[in-house]
């Protein structure tokens, strides 16, 4: 089932690639939007293949992929927010202890510790390590920054592969489909909000935070992503109505994630978190919605279906 769904994603990308190439051939010289569109589609191929390989190889591949994404996202986050010399040890703790342990707990299926490692233990240990470093300037700001980076880039994102731990009646061994469902709805919502915004966008939601986010784009993108999620109900443990509600939840919360991460970028005066993904920006620019949607989708599914 997973392979067929991935094949469908591939088919969508083939169509997108053809459209992108046709637009490029028709406009000479190609406009900036067309160049960016083609770059984005090319990058989508790479991302889709990486994701497909990860989910097809099962829990190990999925956990490794998300651990790597956490690493890259937190590297972008720490680079962007500026760290001081006295933060060094606390950052080592975040990168080389908290991050790998969080994902190792998924591998050994220790949900209890997984859910509190960062909100309890890292929360207390990070300020302790910073205090031991002896620098008091901006102490609370520096502490909060590192904790926030860990909470979003590592803790929140790790809820996507944590879906593999859910024990749902009649759905055992197929939890990978939940990861696929989450990622597909989040990314479809992002892309369709962008498309709907370009086509119909007039009223901006928060012009200072993100000039490209409009009410028309939001409503159109969320509705379309909800439709796609609903159409996939047969691949999930949900009924069509439940799949619709879950998709709506994922799309709306994902939107909020994008908005929050955009606010950080504006505050720091940059357009993107990085340059790793051509046409998209950094890893964080691509997963900002997922970071917010993953824990909410996980807990909604756990509460109602486990």
């Amino acid at each position: 089932m997973l392979l067929r769904l991935l094949g469908a994603v591939g088919a969508v990308l083939v169509v997108a690639t053809v459209i992108g190439r046709v637009l490029r051939a028709r406009s000479s010289p190609p406009s900036e939007t067309v160049v960016n569109l083609n770059q984005r589609i090319n990058a989508w191929w790479v991302m889709a293949v990486v994701f497909a390989v990860a989910v097809v190889t099962g829990p190990a591949g999925t956990i490794v992929l998300f651990a790597l994404l956490s690493f890259l996202a937190m590297r972008e986050f720490v680079t962007l927010v500026e760290s001081s010399r006295a933060d060094h040890r606390a950052l080592l703790l975040a990168f080389f202890v908290a991050l790998p342990v969080q994902y190792a707990l998924l591998a050994v299926q220790w949900y209890g510790l997984f859910s509190i490692l960062i909100p309890v233990y890292a929360f207390l240990l990070i300020p302790a390590v910073l205090a031991l470093a002896g620098e008091t300037t901006d102490f609370l700001r520096r502490t909060a920054t590192i904790q926030w980076g860990l909470a979003t880039c590592v803790y929140a994102l790790s809820y996507a592969p944590a879906l593999l731990l859910l024990d749902i009646d009649g759905f055992d061994g197929r939890q990978g489909l939940l990861v696929f469902f989450l990622v597909l709805v989040v990314q479809a919502s992002d892309v369709l909000q962008y498309v709907a915004g370009k086509l119909f966008g007039r009223h901006r939601i928060a012009p200072r935070v993100s000039p490209n986010k409009t009410w028309e784009g939001f409503v159109g993108g969320v509705a379309a992503a909800t439709g796609i999620g609903t159409a996939l109900w047969w691949a999930t443990p949900f009924s069509p109505w439940q799949a619709a509600a879950m998709s709506l939840l994922i799309a709306v919360v994902g939107f909020l994630g994008g908005l929050v991460m955009a606010a950080i970028k504006r505050d720091r005066g940059v357009k993107d978190y990085g340059e790793l993904i051509p046409g998209h920006g950094g890893v964080m620019d691509r997963i900002d919605s997922l970071v917010f949607a993953a824990p909410v989708f996980f807990h909604a599914t756990r509460f109602f279906f486990q």
Binding site: R75, T79, S83, L91, F95
Partner: protein, 210 residues
């Protein structure tokens, strides 16, 4: 010391993996403002704020240039332990110079490497700074330019390395670094030492803006 040091296959593999590790930690994608390669030996001179600087510049070079580029490093640091000695001599093929003695002997050693056709990575500030300011250059770069006029002096601007591995720390933190290779410095015959050093430093500072 300056003669080309034989590198075993194992050491070459270690060198390759260290370059990969450096790129994984710093994510530095090198930006080339000038030509990537040249048929003349080069002195890549960079600002200095971290022990990670040399490996970052070195890892940022294309492999075929990297194998012919040798970092210049302080003998007092790199000869302290067996591991460091091995890394310096066999893996990085560093040119170790005596910071205290310095002067003509060091210049001669570096010049000899350039005349053999290899390139150098040099930190003309002489010591690591805090990452905010670039200190005035020591005169070594000028002496070297006079001794080997055919060598190209290429400014290399490093940013954020002081955050990857600040002074006094042992384990690097993953922070994205910036690494910009500039145009080779133009040669001005008969230019006085101070003017040349100031110009070289300005060329490096100018690489900061995007």
């Amino acid at each position: 010391m300056s003669g080309a040091v034989a590198q075993s296959r194992a050491d070459a593999a270690v060198a390759g993996s260290l370059a990969g590790l450096a790129r994984l930690l710093t994510g530095a994608v090198p930006v080339w403002r000038g030509p990537r390669s040249s048929d003349r030996p080069r002195v890549y001179y960079a600002n200095h704020s971290s022990h990670f600087d040399a490996v970052t510049v070195w890892a940022g070079l294309p492999p075929e240039l990297r194998s012919r580029t040798r970092p210049v490093a302080a003998a007092d640091y790199w000869e302290k332990t067996r591991l460091r000695r091995h890394l310096a001599a066999r893996v990085f093929r560093a040119v170790l110079i005596d910071r205290a003695g310095g002067g003509p002997a060091a210049t001669q050693e570096m010049a000899a490497v350039l005349r053999e056709g290899d390139s150098l990575i040099l930190f003309p500030e002489g010591t690591r700074g805090d990452g905010r300011e670039v200190a005035p250059f020591k005169s070594g770069l000028h002496h070297l330019a006079v001794a080997v006029p055919e060598a190209e002096l290429v400014p290399v601007r490093l940013s954020n390395l002081n955050r990857v591995l600040p002074k006094g720390e042992r384990v690097p933190v993953p922070v994205i670094a910036r690494l910009v290779f500039g145009e080779p410095l133009a040669v001005v015959p008969g230019e006085p030492k101070d003017a040349m050093l100031t110009r070289a430093r300005q060329a490096l500072l100018a690489l900061e803006e995007r």
